[in-house]
Symmetry: C2
Subunit: 450 residues, 2 copies
């Protein structure tokens, strides 16, 4: 299978191709992505990126989400992609660890806004762009990721180029050139995890993908064998690439149906524990003061990746199963508030986390956990998590995605506007343009005093 | 040796550090680079890149060389870096195959122009930027190149970030962040050779490096171990990296002293043959009509890389030792005119190239060739090329570099302006700004008829 064949598949995909279930999942992906992008838009690293962009100048073509301003297509794409990855709370293909929306949606959205395209066109371009990014990810995973590539940035540009190129109605030869330009500039080393540069990866990948489509539209040339050639993307960045994944079974089903969403803003490996402990609180009505000991039986990776016993701030707390278990029992949920620095150092959290014990068990799957609370009276309460919330077999419901949306946008948008924005995403398939949705994704003007 | 140490070396390099011989080589590198950038500025791919940039808009901050216009810092950097690599006629470090000026100089030049920095600051930043790019290249070469990375694009951003960061007087911590941002976005697959995307590589690398320095100046964070970490640049893109090359012997000598310049606009492997055959013409006064047979004994790579016997156009002729030998004898030199399509298909060239015979000989080095012309009267004339022009042991003279400059800029600049530009580069070390040189690198206004 070849780059050219993939380009032909993209170019040959007609408007109206996406079945209802793919469109529904595109709406869910968009809602989830929009929430985390709007919610993180006031982060200082966004100010820094905008300062550099403003030094260059540019037309006001597309909206910077969560802010009352616009920027050039490429700047808006870069910044929106970056914002959406800051919380580490975006969507994931569990089989490749690709976070597909962050590098794909901002490119499609900026182009759709600028060209006044319909909501349906945006939704279908998201289905298609995510399809391409995930297929390229499947070609190179796992060796690509194991070597140290942050796959979300390093294959993201393929998806952005495909989505934007399809919206521009590029013919197959030009689409192949766009894929070639995406192939030649992978962004993202895993060494950057824990720094500003990590969220920069999907932002830059999205901008590179959009630029690739724009250059290709001008006639800019590239290799027609960019992915599969001996010195092409797949062989240069992975071992034994599975090239058949490029187009195998194209159109029979859509990858977006396998997309998953994080219920909690931390690594997926802790999710079963949070899910189980929160159920102790909510369903079994266990109160922290009554608990003498909280015993966790978990998959071995949990302690390897998140074994920090005494986290000092929110960032460290994301790598502490002890913190997550304690705060889940105390608060009944783990959201952004539970990773605020002051919550991490709160006396009740510190007190309870000292009573958390963790045992690894090789028979427990990654989406499972066994929780036992021993109360002061000696009695025990058990919870078994068969498939944790947000996993393939237990996806987040629409209601849960909306609750998450309210949580992450809460600092930026007033509640009634959040409700309107949720409704705008729900009705996007029949919206003549994406303008109303984007307008709702910017905060209201601040009232001046006096 | 570490990224942080390299950043400390850069930050600790004071103004006025460069010895006279390094400054002299920086002037030669700049002259060579400026010529090929100005000369190729009217290529259609430059129009395409500018069309995409103009769609975005931006301030007029820096000059697009060879054109009567300016663009934003990042756009000018991208386009000038691209132009300078279009002719495949730029400078080379023969031990890493890095073309150092293309990704480094445009970033330093755009920043120097915009900030009205002195000619000396530009020259020193070129010495420093090339130092950093070549050292990173030495860390990862040869496995990096063998895998398929176009090293000029994939390590170029380090040099651009260093040059720009030094001009901005970033402190070591921020310089390390700039190197980190450069590390995380290598540009350039060798699969792109022969397409527009090849010259795009150094242009985008230069722009990425300048953007990295600008972001770092804002406080944008990155890994302090971006190059040497297990999932950092060196281990992800090469085998057994030679990390000691990052800072070993820093300041004892300067890499730019080993820079070399192409006398002929084609791969270096054919250069000894062109050099030798041209000497048959010039020194031995051999005329093509008298020659029955032209016998070449050459290094084995020559036929492997350039064995095309019947090239159909200028691009194919670059991969034909037969064409190059024939045209060198007919015209006494091989420049851009000898790769024009009509010269490649001229009857005298086609006639003579059929009389060229090539024998490979493992005892002949890459910079050597043995040429024997057998005349119709049966007599033979020999030329032995010990070290071809442009090689380490036979560098191009200043006069030869100036002749090349006149050749490449001839289509764009009038002869008197070319002379003034050569003089401006020669006097750059005492120029208060780079403005006059840049003004001379733009074509005069076209006279309107009527």
């Amino acid at each position: 299978m070849t780059t050219t064949q993939m380009a032909e598949m993209i170019a040959g995909t007609p408007r109206g191709f996406a079945p209802p279930e793919a469109l529904a999942e595109a709406r869910r992906s968009l809602l989830n992505w929009l929430g985390v992008a709007v919610g993180a838009a006031d982060h200082p690293m966004v100010d820094m990126a905008l300062a550099v962009a403003d030094l260059m100048g540019g037309h006001e073509q597309a909206t910077v989400l969560g802010r009352r301003r616009r920027a050039s297509l490429l700047t808006a794409t870069l910044v929106n992609g970056m914002s959406s990855h800051i919380f580490d709370y975006d969507d994931t293909f569990l089989d490749t660890i690709l976070h597909p929306s962050a590098p794909v949606v901002p490119a499609a959205l900026a182009w759709s806004e600028w060209r006044s395209l319909s909501g349906m066109e945006l939704l279908e371009s998201i289905v298609l762009g995510i399809e391409v990014a995930q297929r390229v990810a499947q070609v190179v995973y796992p060796s690509h990721y194991d070597r140290g590539w942050h796959i979300t940035g390093s294959v993201g540009a393929f998806g952005a180029a495909a989505a934007a190129g399809w919206l521009m109605e590029l013919e197959a030869g030009r689409l192949a050139n766009a894929l070639g330009l995406a192939a030649t500039q992978p962004v993202g080393l895993r060494e950057m995890f824990g720094t500003h540069t990590k969220p920069y990866h999907p932002g830059k990948a999205a901008a590179n993908g959009l630029e690739a489509a724009l250059l290709a539209a001008q006639g800019f040339g590239s290799s027609a064998r960019a992915i599969e050639a001996p010195r092409g993307f797949a062989h240069v960045t992975s071992n034994q690439p599975k090239l058949q994944r490029l187009t195998d079974g194209w159109g029979e089903s859509w990858q977006i149906l396998h997309n998953s969403y994080k219920p909690f803003p931390c690594g997926v490996v802790i999710h079963p524990i949070i899910d189980g402990v929160a159920r102790l609180h909510r369903e079994r009505r266990i109160e922290a003061p009554d608990v003498a000991r909280l015993q966790l039986r978990v998959h071995p990776l949990v302690l390897e990746l998140t074994g920090k016993t005494e986290p000092r701030d929110g960032l460290e707390a994301k790598f502490s199963v002890y913190h997550c278990a304690a705060v889940a029992l105390l608060d009944g949920w783990v959201g952004l508030a539970q990773f605020a620095d002051q919550r991490v150092t709160a006396p009740d959290v510190i007190d309870l986390r000292a009573r958390v014990n963790v045992t690894v068990d090789g028979s427990i799957a990654e989406d499972q956990a066994h929780i036992t609370a021993t109360l002061h009276d000696g009695s025990q309460v058990d919870v078994w998590v068969e498939h944790c919330l947000g996993s393939k077999d237990n996806p987040m419901s629409d209601d849960q995605l909306e609750s998450k949306f309210q949580e992450v946008t809460g600092r930026v948008l007033p509640p009634d506007q959040t409700e309107q924005l949720i409704a705008a995403v729900a009705g996007l398939a029949t919206a003549p343009t994406v303008g109303r949705m984007i307008q709702l994704a910017t905060p209201p003007e601040v009232q001046r005093n006096g």
